[in-house]
Structure formats: structure tokens, C-alpha cells
């Protein structure tokens, strides 16, 4: 399901952007270069970014401006990256984060 807003009554037609390929939990995904990682995932209706340390509860977009860290994921091997303020780059490897992200995205 694509959640992108291509036509908008005020903003008009979506600007064309360069598409790049990223990998999300092992699967390839086409994303707009420079858009927040979170937006690229949301466009595919993927809303879970991480699971909490103790209760292993799902978390996703909450503040959208880099304040709350609920959207943290493992990006290119680095855990705790706030995906709502981190732009997409060609070839990025993104993984759902479990707990604090030890073990490179595998189960903690």
C-alpha cells in the first residue's frame, strides 16, 4: 500500500525526486533521496521502528522532529539513529532495532 500524497489541493503535484535503493530488514526498498528514513518506511505503511528493552513493545513515529527517539533504528550498523531526522542515502542498510540495538539488530 502506498501512503504517498502525490496530488495535494494546496501543495500541488509532488516534486519528482531521485529514487535510490535502500535495504530494510533485508528487503530492498525504493526511497526518495534525502527524505527522512521514517517517511520512506511510512510510505510503505511500515510503522514499527523499534521494540523496547524490557517489555519488547513496538514503537514508531511519535514526535517526528527528533525529540522523542521512538523512531530509532539501526542504520548502517549504527543503533539509536533517529529515522525521522536522518535523510535517506543510496545503499543504506536499515534494521528494526530490538532493545538498545546490541548485536546489530538481531535479537538482544
Amino acid at each position: 500500500m502506498c501512503m504517498r500524497i502525490t496530488e495535494h489541493v494546496i501543495l500541488g503535484q509532488e516534486e519528482t525526486a531521485k529514487l535510490v535503493e535502500i535495504t530494510v530488514d533485508g528487503k530492498p526498498l525504493m526511497a526518495k533521496e534525502g527524505e527522512p528514513i521514517l517517511a520512506a518506511l511510512l510510505a510503505e505503511n511500515m510503522i514499527i521502528n523499534r521494540y523496547t528493552v524490557k517489555r519488547k513493545e513496538a514503537r514508531g513515529l511519535f514526535c517526528g522532529i527528533g525529540q522523542c527517539t521512538d523512531c530509532a533504528m539501526i542504520v548502517n550498523g549504527k543503533p539509536n539513529v533517529r529515522t525521522c531526522i536522518t535523510p535517506v542515502e543510496q545503499g543504506m542498510v536499515i534494521k528494526t532495532q530490538y532493545g538498545v540495538g546490541e548485536g546489530d539488530g538481531e535479537d538482544d
Binding site: T6, F62, G66
Partner: protein
């Protein structure tokens, strides 16, 4: 350590306006830092036309004001560091910036500033109910960022909690983005925001539940159902009035509070003000805080709206430029009087008056203003 004449934390309307005014007056090394990837603060998600008098660009969309400010900032040689958070504030006006580098790494830069202006804005309040941490439940501002800036929908069926102007405007914008707004929930017996915004929601056929709140959000790894209930006069849910709404997004629009991390780091004296969203730094009519040379502007000094933030930024920009010797006292006074006149104009009417009272309380709390 490097040095700058003026360092401004926050590139929203307040910070940019401060930078522009100071640079316009002749200040040479004006640096604005912002933790976001783009300057403009929250202006770029405000795609609706602003209210107010023509002097305040009523009828202009926030996004256009943002672009205009960026153009002016460039014209006057203002330096902007994005992806760069102000993380420390020390004696003798030293500010620490975690500067974002092109390589993607960060570098800590300490700056000796002659004047510092804090324009760090506000953050959204949360509302805690059972299940509030489920994915799909988010700040109304977060949803607004997604639809208007990133152009992706956070989901399809939205329940909005809160009917202040943010709740009303974002509800309407979610509909413009193609989402279905299932219901607008308001705990108070009356709608909080402007009638003109509420009318748009009503005309679109969105049910508005006043004297209601969310009791619980249900779902497995994503919200799928929202349980609401009616509230009695003491704000307690009335048993038996529960309704279940189907939704995959819940947006929380329960007001904002000033971001005061830097303010607290350097012990700027604060005062509590409920109408302004919580603890706010005391300041005088130049927007100077209790720490000489450190100014506070915009939502940091009390949650209002973009136009007042912009004018307060201008005030601090003029005042800082005056202290640095770029404006004579006469010229600066004339500029400041004009700005105060516009600010007074913005703090009128049934909604603005409360803010006028609150601002006067803040000013009265500053020792020199009380005299």
C-alpha cells in the same frame, strides 16, 4: 573555540527574524544553529493562511513566510548551521554546538558569543491513556510534518484528540492529505479553537465529541480501535457511555510547552505561567533574560503563535544590535516601539487577551520591569 557576534539557537520564525534584524542593523557575524535538517522551524508545515491584520501578513501561508525569511536571511549574510544542536550554555556567553558535518559525523564546537538569543520553540504535550504508546499514536504536529512536509500519510483513519487550533487545523489538513478523520475528541464542554476552523471540520461531516476523552487504545503492534467515553463535570468518565471507534492513527493535540533545556542549563530565572504552557524564562522589554547578553524569544518564552514569535525575535535582534553599537538608542527605540505596537495588536481579541495578560505577568516578574 571560535567567536561570533551573535549566536541564535533555533531557526524558526523567532530565531530567523532575530538574525535578520541584527544583520540588517549591521551585525556581521550572525550565526543561527538548528537541530533540524532544514531551517524554518515549524513554518513549513503551516500550509494554511494565517490570521491577523494585514501588517501581519494575514492570508499568507506559513510556508511562504518561511521562504521569505530564508531569502532575507541569505540577503543579509546570516550564517545558518542545520543538523546542529545547541547542547551547552556556559558562563561568559559560551555556547556549545554539536555541529553536523557533511560526512554525517558530528563535531563539538564551542563558540564565544557577544550575544546569545535562545529561540528553541516548544514541544507537544502528550496525553497518557491505556495503550497510548502503540504505534500509530502520535503528536498532531508529527502527523502534520508527515503529510505537509514529507508528503506521506501516517495512516488512513484518524482520531484527533484536542480541539484547539492545532487539533482543528491539523484535522482539516489530514483530510486535505486524503485521510479520513473519524472523530474529533475534546474533553472540555466547548471547542477550544477558532470557530472558523471548527466550521470547516463540521462542514466536512467530522463528528465532534465534546466532553469526551479517550479511555483506551487497542491493537496489536498498531492501534486499531479507540475507546472513547463521555466525561462528567469533574472530568471523570461516565460508565456506560463508552464508544468504540475504528482507527489506525490517533493524533494528540493537547497543547504545547516551551522547550527550556538551555534556559535551565544556564540558570536563567524562570516563572511559572499556565497560559503560556509552563515554566518560562523571565525577560525584559528587550527580551533579555536574567543573564545579561542572553535573550529569549518566541515559544521559548511562552507558547503563542508564529507571528508573535517573529516579532519577539525582531525585538531581540534590534536590542542586541543596539548593545553591540550598530544602532543608536534613538533608532533602536523607534524600531522597538513599532514592534511592541504590532505585538500588542497580536495580543488582542478573545484569544489574544489572555496572552497579553500572561506576557505582562512575565515582564512584571523581571526585576527591572517591575519598577
Amino acid at each position: 573555540m571560535i567567536s561570533k557576534e551573535i549566536v541564535i539557537a533555533g531557526a524558526g520564525p523567532a530565531g530567523l527574524a532575530a538574525a535578520i534584524e541584527a544583520a540588517k542593523a549591521g551585525a556581521k557575524e550572525v550565526l543561527v544553529v538548528d537541530l533540524n535538517l532544514k531551517p524554518g522551524g515549524q513554518l513549513f508545515k503551516q500550509i494554511h493562511k494565517f490570521f491577523g491584520s494585514s501588517a501581519h501578513r494575514s492570508g499568507t501561508r506559513g510556508i511562504d513566510i518561511g521562504n521569505q525569511l530564508l531569502t532575507e536571511a541569505k540577503e543579509y549574510g546570516v550564517e545558518i548551521w542545520v543538523n546542529s544542536a545547541a547542547v551547552g550554555l556556559f558562563h561568559d556567553r559560551i555556547i556549545s554546538i554539536e555541529k553536523g558535518l557533511d560526512s554525517g559525523e558530528k563535531e563539538l564546537v564551542n563558540i564565544q558569543a557577544q550575544k546569545i538569543i535562545l529561540a528553541t520553540g516548544a514541544s507537544e504535550n502528550v496525553v497518557r491513556f491505556k495503550g497510548w504508546t502503540l504505534p500509530g499514536i502520535m503528536g498532531a504536529g508529527a502527523a502534520q510534518t508527515m503529510i505537509n512536509v514529507n508528503r506521506v500519510k501516517p495512516g488512513n483513519k484518524v482520531v484527533m484528540l484536542g480541539s484547539g487550533n492545532v487539533g482543528l487545523i491539523v484535522s482539516y489538513q489530514l483530510m486535505q492529505a486524503g485521510c479520513d478523520v473519524v472523530a474529533l475528541i475534546e474533553a472540555a464542554p466547548k471547542i477550544g479553537g477558532y470557530g472558523v476552523h471548527a466550521a470547516k471540520i463540521r462542514r466536512a461531516g467530522v463528528p465532534i465529541y465534546t466532553s469526551h476523552t479517550i479511555i483506551e487504545a487497542k491493537g496489536t503492534e498498531r492501534v486499531s480501535e479507540v475507546v472513547i467515553a463521555e466525561l462528567d463535570r469533574s472530568w471523570n468518565p461516565i460508565p456506560g457511555t463508552e464508544k468504540v471507534l475504528e482507527a489506525d492513527v490517533v493524533t494528540l493535540a493537547a497543547g504545547l510547552k516551551p522547550i527550556s533545556d538551555l534556559v535551565r542549563l544556564h540558570d536563567l530565572k524562570c516563572v511559572y505561567n499556565a497560559a503560556f504552557g509552563g515554566w518560562v524564562p523571565k525577560h525584559d522589554r528587550n527580551m533579555e533574560s536574567t543573564q545579561p547578553g542572553i535573550y529569549v524569544v518566541g515559544d521559548t518564552t511562552g507558547v503563542e503563535e508564529a507571528n508573535t514569535a517573529l516579532e519577539e525575535g525582531r525585538l531581540a535582534g534590534v536590542a542586541a544590535a543596539e548593545r553591540l553599537g550598530y544602532l543608536t538608542q534613538t533608532d533602536a527605540s523607534a524600531l522597538k516601539d513599532d514592534i511592541w505596537e504590532r505585538l500588542d495588536g497580536l495580543r488582542m481579541g478573545p484569544f489574544g487577551e489572555k496572552r497579553m495578560v500572561a506576557k505582562n505577568q512575565i515582564l512584571a516578574a523581571f526585576p527591572e520591569c517591575a519598577k
